[in-house]
Amino acid sequence: MHGVLELIQAVDAFLEAPKNLATGMGQLQWGAARDECAKRLKLPLEIEGEQHGHHLVIDAFPNSSSLKFCLAIQFGEHVVDRIDYELTVRHANQINSGLPQMVKGPHWHKWSYNRNTFKRKDNFLKLPNASAFETPRQFDATLRMFCADNNIAIGNHGIELPPRDSLL
Protein backbone atom coordinates (compact mmCIF):
# COMPACT_ATOMS: atom_id res chain seq x y z
CA MET A 1 0.00 0.00 0.00
CA HIS A 2 3.09 2.19 0.19
CA GLY A 3 2.59 5.47 -1.65
CA VAL A 4 -1.02 4.74 -2.53
CA LEU A 5 -2.41 7.28 -0.06
CA GLU A 6 -0.10 9.97 -1.43
CA LEU A 7 -1.18 9.17 -4.99
CA ILE A 8 -4.85 9.38 -3.99
CA GLN A 9 -4.27 12.73 -2.24
CA ALA A 10 -2.33 14.07 -5.21
CA VAL A 11 -5.05 13.06 -7.69
CA ASP A 12 -7.77 14.47 -5.40
CA ALA A 13 -5.94 17.80 -5.22
CA PHE A 14 -5.28 17.82 -8.96
CA LEU A 15 -8.89 17.12 -9.93
CA GLU A 16 -10.22 19.72 -7.50
CA ALA A 17 -7.92 22.46 -8.77
CA PRO A 18 -9.23 24.76 -11.54
CA LYS A 19 -7.56 23.78 -14.78
CA ASN A 20 -7.31 25.05 -18.34
CA LEU A 21 -6.77 23.21 -21.60
CA ALA A 22 -3.58 24.23 -23.39
CA THR A 23 -4.90 24.07 -26.94
CA GLY A 24 -2.38 26.50 -28.48
CA MET A 25 -3.19 28.94 -31.28
CA GLY A 26 -3.27 26.70 -34.33
CA GLN A 27 -5.82 24.15 -35.51
CA LEU A 28 -5.92 21.04 -33.36
CA GLN A 29 -4.29 18.06 -35.02
CA TRP A 30 -5.52 14.52 -34.38
CA GLY A 31 -2.65 12.05 -34.30
CA ALA A 32 -2.55 8.41 -35.23
CA ALA A 33 -3.21 5.85 -32.53
CA ARG A 34 -1.76 2.33 -32.39
CA ASP A 35 -5.16 1.03 -33.43
CA GLU A 36 -5.38 1.90 -37.11
CA CYS A 37 -9.12 2.59 -36.68
CA ALA A 38 -8.52 5.22 -33.97
CA LYS A 39 -7.22 8.79 -33.81
CA ARG A 40 -5.92 10.50 -30.69
CA LEU A 41 -5.83 14.08 -29.40
CA LYS A 42 -3.71 14.72 -26.31
CA LEU A 43 -3.95 18.17 -24.76
CA PRO A 44 -1.89 19.42 -21.79
CA LEU A 45 -3.74 20.58 -18.70
CA GLU A 46 -2.61 23.79 -17.00
CA ILE A 47 -2.95 24.87 -13.40
CA GLU A 48 -2.32 28.58 -12.89
CA GLY A 49 -0.48 28.71 -16.19
CA GLU A 50 1.81 25.80 -15.40
CA GLN A 51 1.88 22.36 -17.01
CA HIS A 52 3.00 19.39 -14.97
CA GLY A 53 2.71 16.58 -17.49
CA HIS A 54 -1.01 15.86 -17.09
CA HIS A 55 -3.34 15.63 -20.07
CA LEU A 56 -6.85 15.39 -21.42
CA VAL A 57 -6.77 12.49 -23.90
CA ILE A 58 -9.49 11.99 -26.51
CA ASP A 59 -9.63 8.83 -28.63
CA ALA A 60 -11.93 8.92 -31.65
CA PHE A 61 -13.08 6.08 -33.88
CA PRO A 62 -14.31 7.97 -36.95
CA ASN A 63 -15.16 4.91 -39.02
CA SER A 64 -17.20 3.19 -36.35
CA SER A 65 -20.76 2.36 -37.38
CA SER A 66 -22.10 4.35 -34.41
CA LEU A 67 -20.76 7.20 -32.28
CA LYS A 68 -17.73 5.95 -30.37
CA PHE A 69 -15.06 7.88 -28.44
CA CYS A 70 -13.16 7.91 -25.19
CA LEU A 71 -12.34 10.87 -22.90
CA ALA A 72 -9.67 10.50 -20.24
CA ILE A 73 -7.77 12.51 -17.65
CA GLN A 74 -4.17 11.29 -17.61
CA PHE A 75 -2.33 12.16 -14.40
CA GLY A 76 1.31 11.54 -15.25
CA GLU A 77 0.99 8.11 -16.81
CA HIS A 78 -2.13 7.03 -14.90
CA VAL A 79 -5.57 7.47 -16.45
CA VAL A 80 -7.64 8.43 -13.40
CA ASP A 81 -11.05 9.36 -14.86
CA ARG A 82 -12.50 8.12 -18.15
CA ILE A 83 -15.66 8.04 -20.23
CA ASP A 84 -16.10 5.14 -22.64
CA TYR A 85 -18.71 6.20 -25.14
CA GLU A 86 -19.91 3.19 -27.11
CA LEU A 87 -23.51 2.13 -27.53
CA THR A 88 -23.08 -1.65 -27.59
CA VAL A 89 -20.70 -2.29 -24.68
CA ARG A 90 -21.53 -3.92 -21.36
CA HIS A 91 -19.74 -3.18 -18.11
CA ALA A 92 -19.88 -5.01 -14.75
CA ASN A 93 -19.17 -3.13 -11.51
CA GLN A 94 -17.57 -4.49 -8.36
CA ILE A 95 -20.13 -6.00 -5.99
CA ASN A 96 -19.47 -3.51 -3.17
CA SER A 97 -19.25 -0.40 -5.37
CA GLY A 98 -22.72 0.92 -4.51
CA LEU A 99 -23.38 1.22 -8.25
CA PRO A 100 -25.71 -0.88 -10.38
CA GLN A 101 -24.09 -4.26 -11.00
CA MET A 102 -24.24 -3.86 -14.73
CA VAL A 103 -24.17 -0.91 -17.10
CA LYS A 104 -25.20 -0.96 -20.73
CA GLY A 105 -23.82 1.45 -23.30
CA PRO A 106 -21.78 4.62 -22.63
CA HIS A 107 -20.37 4.74 -19.12
CA TRP A 108 -18.18 6.88 -16.89
CA HIS A 109 -15.27 5.50 -14.85
CA LYS A 110 -15.23 8.39 -12.36
CA TRP A 111 -12.26 8.83 -10.04
CA SER A 112 -14.62 9.07 -7.08
CA TYR A 113 -15.91 5.53 -7.75
CA ASN A 114 -12.42 4.09 -8.10
CA ARG A 115 -10.07 6.01 -5.82
CA ASN A 116 -10.05 3.22 -3.25
CA THR A 117 -9.81 0.28 -5.63
CA PHE A 118 -6.05 -0.09 -6.05
CA LYS A 119 -3.27 -1.31 -3.80
CA ARG A 120 -0.13 -0.48 -5.77
CA LYS A 121 0.66 2.92 -7.21
CA ASP A 122 3.08 1.63 -9.84
CA ASN A 123 0.45 -0.48 -11.59
CA PHE A 124 -1.84 1.12 -14.11
CA LEU A 125 -5.30 1.71 -12.64
CA LYS A 126 -8.11 -0.59 -13.77
CA LEU A 127 -10.91 1.85 -12.80
CA PRO A 128 -13.31 -1.09 -12.37
CA ASN A 129 -16.41 0.93 -11.43
CA ALA A 130 -18.52 3.04 -13.76
CA SER A 131 -21.93 4.62 -13.99
CA ALA A 132 -24.23 4.83 -17.00
CA PHE A 133 -25.32 8.02 -18.70
CA GLU A 134 -28.95 8.71 -18.03
CA THR A 135 -29.49 10.03 -21.52
CA PRO A 136 -27.38 9.56 -24.64
CA ARG A 137 -25.40 12.68 -25.49
CA GLN A 138 -23.45 13.97 -28.42
CA PHE A 139 -19.70 14.49 -28.30
CA ASP A 140 -19.63 18.18 -27.40
CA ALA A 141 -22.15 17.84 -24.57
CA THR A 142 -20.26 14.84 -23.19
CA LEU A 143 -16.92 16.67 -23.38
CA ARG A 144 -18.37 19.71 -21.59
CA MET A 145 -19.93 17.53 -18.89
CA PHE A 146 -16.67 15.63 -18.39
CA CYS A 147 -14.56 18.79 -18.21
CA ALA A 148 -16.98 20.58 -15.89
CA ASP A 149 -16.97 17.63 -13.52
CA ASN A 150 -13.17 17.68 -13.44
CA ASN A 151 -12.85 21.49 -13.09
CA ILE A 152 -11.42 21.99 -16.57
CA ALA A 153 -12.44 25.27 -18.22
CA ILE A 154 -12.81 24.76 -21.97
CA GLY A 155 -14.89 27.68 -23.30
CA ASN A 156 -14.90 27.76 -27.10
CA HIS A 157 -12.61 24.79 -27.37
CA GLY A 158 -12.77 24.08 -31.12
CA ILE A 159 -12.50 20.33 -30.59
CA GLU A 160 -14.47 18.29 -33.10
CA LEU A 161 -14.29 14.58 -33.79
CA PRO A 162 -12.40 13.80 -37.01
CA PRO A 163 -14.59 12.94 -40.01
CA ARG A 164 -15.03 9.42 -41.35
CA ASP A 165 -12.24 8.57 -43.78
CA SER A 166 -13.39 5.23 -45.21
CA LEU A 167 -16.60 3.91 -46.69
CA LEU A 168 -16.80 0.79 -44.51
Binding site: E6, V11, D12, A17, E77, V79, A92, L127, L168
Partner: protein, 246 residues
Protein backbone atom coordinates in the same frame (compact mmCIF):
# COMPACT_ATOMS: atom_id res chain seq x y z
CA UNK B 1 -41.85 -20.84 -18.98
CA UNK B 2 -39.50 -23.49 -17.58
CA UNK B 3 -36.22 -22.72 -15.80
CA UNK B 4 -34.08 -23.45 -18.82
CA UNK B 5 -36.05 -21.01 -20.91
CA UNK B 6 -35.81 -18.36 -18.19
CA UNK B 7 -32.04 -18.76 -18.01
CA UNK B 8 -31.76 -18.67 -21.77
CA UNK B 9 -33.77 -15.45 -21.82
CA UNK B 10 -31.69 -13.86 -19.05
CA UNK B 11 -28.44 -14.74 -20.79
CA UNK B 12 -29.60 -13.46 -24.16
CA UNK B 13 -30.30 -10.07 -22.54
CA UNK B 14 -26.59 -9.62 -21.95
CA UNK B 15 -24.73 -11.97 -24.24
CA UNK B 16 -26.21 -10.69 -27.43
CA UNK B 17 -24.97 -10.74 -31.00
CA UNK B 18 -25.24 -7.67 -33.17
CA UNK B 19 -24.13 -6.73 -36.66
CA UNK B 20 -21.40 -4.22 -37.41
CA UNK B 21 -20.82 -3.60 -41.08
CA UNK B 22 -20.19 -7.06 -42.58
CA UNK B 23 -19.31 -8.81 -39.34
CA UNK B 24 -21.00 -9.81 -36.10
CA UNK B 25 -19.97 -8.72 -32.59
CA UNK B 26 -20.58 -11.20 -29.77
CA UNK B 27 -20.69 -10.14 -26.12
CA UNK B 28 -19.14 -13.00 -24.15
CA UNK B 29 -19.18 -14.02 -20.48
CA UNK B 30 -15.54 -13.00 -19.92
CA UNK B 31 -14.67 -9.75 -18.15
CA UNK B 32 -11.65 -7.51 -18.69
CA UNK B 33 -9.86 -6.06 -15.61
CA UNK B 34 -11.79 -2.79 -16.09
CA UNK B 35 -15.09 -4.67 -15.77
CA UNK B 36 -15.99 -4.46 -19.47
CA UNK B 37 -17.44 -7.59 -20.99
CA UNK B 38 -15.15 -9.08 -23.62
CA UNK B 39 -16.61 -8.73 -27.08
CA UNK B 40 -15.29 -10.67 -30.06
CA UNK B 41 -15.89 -10.11 -33.75
CA UNK B 42 -16.85 -12.94 -36.10
CA UNK B 43 -16.31 -12.73 -39.85
CA UNK B 44 -17.00 -15.30 -42.48
CA UNK B 45 -19.64 -17.02 -44.54
CA UNK B 46 -21.85 -20.02 -44.18
CA UNK B 47 -19.11 -22.60 -43.69
CA UNK B 48 -15.91 -20.87 -42.59
CA UNK B 49 -15.42 -18.30 -39.86
CA UNK B 50 -12.71 -16.20 -38.22
CA UNK B 51 -12.92 -14.82 -34.67
CA UNK B 52 -10.93 -11.80 -33.43
CA UNK B 53 -10.80 -9.60 -30.35
CA UNK B 54 -10.06 -6.62 -32.64
CA UNK B 55 -7.20 -5.54 -30.38
CA UNK B 56 -9.39 -4.99 -27.33
CA UNK B 57 -6.89 -6.60 -24.92
CA UNK B 58 -4.26 -4.05 -25.93
CA UNK B 59 -6.82 -1.28 -25.91
CA UNK B 60 -7.70 -2.18 -22.32
CA UNK B 61 -4.22 -1.32 -21.08
CA UNK B 62 -3.91 1.66 -23.41
CA UNK B 63 -7.12 3.04 -21.92
CA UNK B 64 -5.36 2.97 -18.57
CA UNK B 65 -2.52 5.13 -19.93
CA UNK B 66 0.12 2.53 -20.83
CA UNK B 67 1.91 2.43 -24.16
CA UNK B 68 3.08 -1.17 -24.69
CA UNK B 69 6.14 -1.04 -26.92
CA UNK B 70 5.60 -4.26 -28.87
CA UNK B 71 2.21 -5.70 -27.95
CA UNK B 72 2.29 -8.55 -30.46
CA UNK B 73 5.48 -9.97 -29.00
CA UNK B 74 4.12 -9.52 -25.47
CA UNK B 75 0.85 -11.36 -25.94
CA UNK B 76 1.95 -13.95 -28.50
CA UNK B 77 2.75 -16.61 -25.82
CA UNK B 78 -0.67 -16.14 -24.25
CA UNK B 79 -2.46 -16.41 -27.59
CA UNK B 80 -0.36 -19.42 -28.56
CA UNK B 81 -1.34 -21.23 -25.36
CA UNK B 82 -4.94 -21.02 -26.59
CA UNK B 83 -3.93 -22.11 -30.10
CA UNK B 84 -4.52 -18.60 -31.48
CA UNK B 85 -2.63 -16.07 -33.61
CA UNK B 86 -1.64 -12.43 -33.03
CA UNK B 87 -1.29 -9.69 -35.63
CA UNK B 88 -1.29 -5.88 -35.22
CA UNK B 89 -2.38 -6.24 -31.59
CA UNK B 90 -5.35 -8.44 -32.47
CA UNK B 91 -5.85 -11.95 -31.11
CA UNK B 92 -7.37 -14.13 -33.82
CA UNK B 93 -8.52 -17.67 -34.41
CA UNK B 94 -7.56 -19.65 -37.43
CA UNK B 95 -10.25 -20.45 -39.96
CA UNK B 96 -12.89 -22.64 -38.30
CA UNK B 97 -16.09 -24.43 -39.20
CA UNK B 98 -19.54 -23.75 -37.81
CA UNK B 99 -19.20 -26.68 -35.42
CA UNK B 100 -16.03 -25.12 -33.94
CA UNK B 101 -17.27 -21.53 -33.93
CA UNK B 102 -18.57 -21.54 -30.36
CA UNK B 103 -15.30 -23.01 -29.09
CA UNK B 104 -13.25 -20.41 -30.98
CA UNK B 105 -15.38 -17.58 -29.61
CA UNK B 106 -14.67 -18.87 -26.09
CA UNK B 107 -10.95 -19.29 -26.80
CA UNK B 108 -10.49 -15.79 -28.24
CA UNK B 109 -12.50 -14.21 -25.40
CA UNK B 110 -10.49 -16.00 -22.72
CA UNK B 111 -7.16 -15.30 -24.42
CA UNK B 112 -8.08 -11.62 -24.74
CA UNK B 113 -9.02 -11.41 -21.07
CA UNK B 114 -5.81 -13.23 -20.06
CA UNK B 115 -3.71 -10.89 -22.18
CA UNK B 116 -5.34 -7.82 -20.63
CA UNK B 117 -4.78 -9.21 -17.13
CA UNK B 118 -1.14 -9.90 -18.01
CA UNK B 119 -0.69 -6.29 -19.15
CA UNK B 120 -2.14 -4.91 -15.90
CA UNK B 121 -0.03 -7.27 -13.79
CA UNK B 122 3.21 -6.68 -15.70
CA UNK B 123 3.44 -3.13 -17.05
CA UNK B 124 4.53 -0.53 -14.51
CA UNK B 125 4.35 3.22 -14.35
CA UNK B 126 7.76 4.83 -14.87
CA UNK B 127 8.87 5.94 -11.47
CA UNK B 128 10.98 9.02 -12.25
CA UNK B 129 8.27 11.12 -13.90
CA UNK B 130 5.64 9.78 -11.59
CA UNK B 131 7.66 10.48 -8.49
CA UNK B 132 8.36 14.04 -9.56
CA UNK B 133 4.66 14.60 -10.28
CA UNK B 134 3.58 13.04 -7.01
CA UNK B 135 5.94 15.21 -4.98
CA UNK B 136 4.78 18.31 -6.84
CA UNK B 137 1.11 17.62 -6.31
CA UNK B 138 1.59 16.49 -2.76
CA UNK B 139 3.21 19.87 -2.04
CA UNK B 140 0.41 21.73 -3.79
CA UNK B 141 -2.12 19.84 -1.74
CA UNK B 142 -0.25 20.86 1.41
CA UNK B 143 0.84 24.41 0.66
CA UNK B 144 -1.68 25.36 -2.05
CA UNK B 145 -0.77 28.48 -4.03
CA UNK B 146 2.31 29.11 -1.88
CA UNK B 147 4.07 26.56 -4.13
CA UNK B 148 5.45 27.89 -7.38
CA UNK B 149 8.08 26.85 -9.85
CA UNK B 150 10.87 29.30 -10.54
CA UNK B 151 14.56 29.90 -11.10
CA UNK B 152 17.15 30.65 -8.45
CA UNK B 153 20.77 31.69 -8.92
CA UNK B 154 23.65 29.69 -7.47
CA UNK B 155 27.11 30.76 -6.36
CA UNK B 156 28.38 30.08 -9.88
CA UNK B 157 25.96 32.77 -11.14
CA UNK B 158 24.16 30.02 -13.06
CA UNK B 159 20.37 29.95 -12.75
CA UNK B 160 18.65 26.69 -11.87
CA UNK B 161 15.00 25.76 -12.36
CA UNK B 162 13.18 24.37 -9.33
CA UNK B 163 9.69 22.89 -9.61
CA UNK B 164 8.69 23.51 -6.02
CA UNK B 165 9.56 26.78 -4.31
CA UNK B 166 7.31 27.31 -1.29
CA UNK B 167 6.89 30.90 -0.14
CA UNK B 168 6.68 30.77 3.65
CA UNK B 169 5.89 33.53 6.12
CA UNK B 170 8.55 36.16 6.88
CA UNK B 171 9.67 36.11 3.23
CA UNK B 172 11.43 32.78 3.66
CA UNK B 173 11.50 30.23 0.87
CA UNK B 174 11.52 26.44 1.10
CA UNK B 175 12.95 24.76 -1.99
CA UNK B 176 11.84 21.13 -2.28
CA UNK B 177 13.44 19.02 -4.98
CA UNK B 178 12.72 15.39 -5.84
CA UNK B 179 15.17 12.74 -6.92
CA UNK B 180 14.94 9.09 -7.92
CA UNK B 181 17.64 6.42 -7.79
CA UNK B 182 19.08 7.18 -11.20
CA UNK B 183 22.50 8.59 -12.07
CA UNK B 184 21.17 11.43 -14.23
CA UNK B 185 18.55 12.44 -11.68
CA UNK B 186 21.11 12.42 -8.85
CA UNK B 187 23.71 14.40 -10.80
CA UNK B 188 21.41 17.12 -12.07
CA UNK B 189 19.70 17.78 -8.74
CA UNK B 190 22.96 17.50 -6.83
CA UNK B 191 24.57 20.24 -8.94
CA UNK B 192 21.58 22.59 -8.76
CA UNK B 193 21.11 22.22 -5.01
CA UNK B 194 24.81 22.41 -4.17
CA UNK B 195 25.23 25.55 -6.28
CA UNK B 196 22.23 27.17 -4.59
CA UNK B 197 23.34 26.19 -1.11
CA UNK B 198 26.83 27.55 -1.73
CA UNK B 199 25.35 30.94 -2.59
CA UNK B 200 24.23 31.31 1.06
CA UNK B 201 21.07 33.21 0.24
CA UNK B 202 19.43 34.30 3.45
CA UNK B 203 15.95 32.93 4.07
CA UNK B 204 16.23 29.91 1.75
CA UNK B 205 15.79 26.41 3.13
CA UNK B 206 16.44 23.40 0.90
CA UNK B 207 15.16 19.86 1.07
CA UNK B 208 15.58 16.96 -1.34
CA UNK B 209 12.88 14.30 -1.21
CA UNK B 210 14.19 10.93 -2.36
CA UNK B 211 12.21 7.84 -3.27
CA UNK B 212 13.04 5.53 -0.36
CA UNK B 213 11.18 2.56 -1.83
CA UNK B 214 14.31 2.00 -3.95
CA UNK B 215 17.54 0.46 -2.68
CA UNK B 216 19.90 3.43 -2.55
CA UNK B 217 23.67 3.24 -2.22
CA UNK B 218 24.90 5.00 0.90
CA UNK B 219 27.41 7.01 -1.12
CA UNK B 220 24.69 8.42 -3.38
CA UNK B 221 22.69 9.59 -0.38
CA UNK B 222 25.87 11.06 1.10
CA UNK B 223 26.53 13.06 -2.04
CA UNK B 224 22.98 14.37 -2.09
CA UNK B 225 23.10 15.30 1.58
CA UNK B 226 26.05 17.56 0.82
CA UNK B 227 23.73 19.59 -1.37
CA UNK B 228 20.60 19.78 0.79
CA UNK B 229 18.90 18.15 3.74
CA UNK B 230 17.44 14.82 2.64
CA UNK B 231 13.91 13.69 3.40
CA UNK B 232 12.74 10.13 2.60
CA UNK B 233 9.48 10.15 0.70
CA UNK B 234 7.80 7.95 3.31
CA UNK B 235 8.31 10.72 5.89
CA UNK B 236 7.82 13.73 3.62
CA UNK B 237 4.26 14.39 4.73
CA UNK B 238 5.21 14.61 8.41
CA UNK B 239 8.48 16.46 7.89
CA UNK B 240 7.17 19.08 5.49
CA UNK B 241 3.95 19.56 7.42
CA UNK B 242 5.99 21.33 10.07
CA UNK B 243 6.79 24.08 7.58
CA UNK B 244 3.10 24.64 6.93
CA UNK B 245 2.65 25.50 10.59
CA UNK B 246 5.54 27.96 10.72
Amino acid sequence: MNLNALIQSALSEIFEVHSVNESSVVTTQCLYPSGSFVQVTVRGGEHTFYVSDEGMAVQEIESAGAVPSSPDRMIQPIAASFGLLVSKGKIMSQQCSLSDLGLNIALVANASRSAAEWFFDTLKVRQDEKFKAIVSHFLRAKFHSAVQSGVLTGVSNKTHKFDNIIYLRDHRKLVVDSVVNDHNSISSRMVANWDLRSANHSGIEQRIVYDDRDKWKAEDLNILSAAATLVPYSKAWDVLSKFALQ
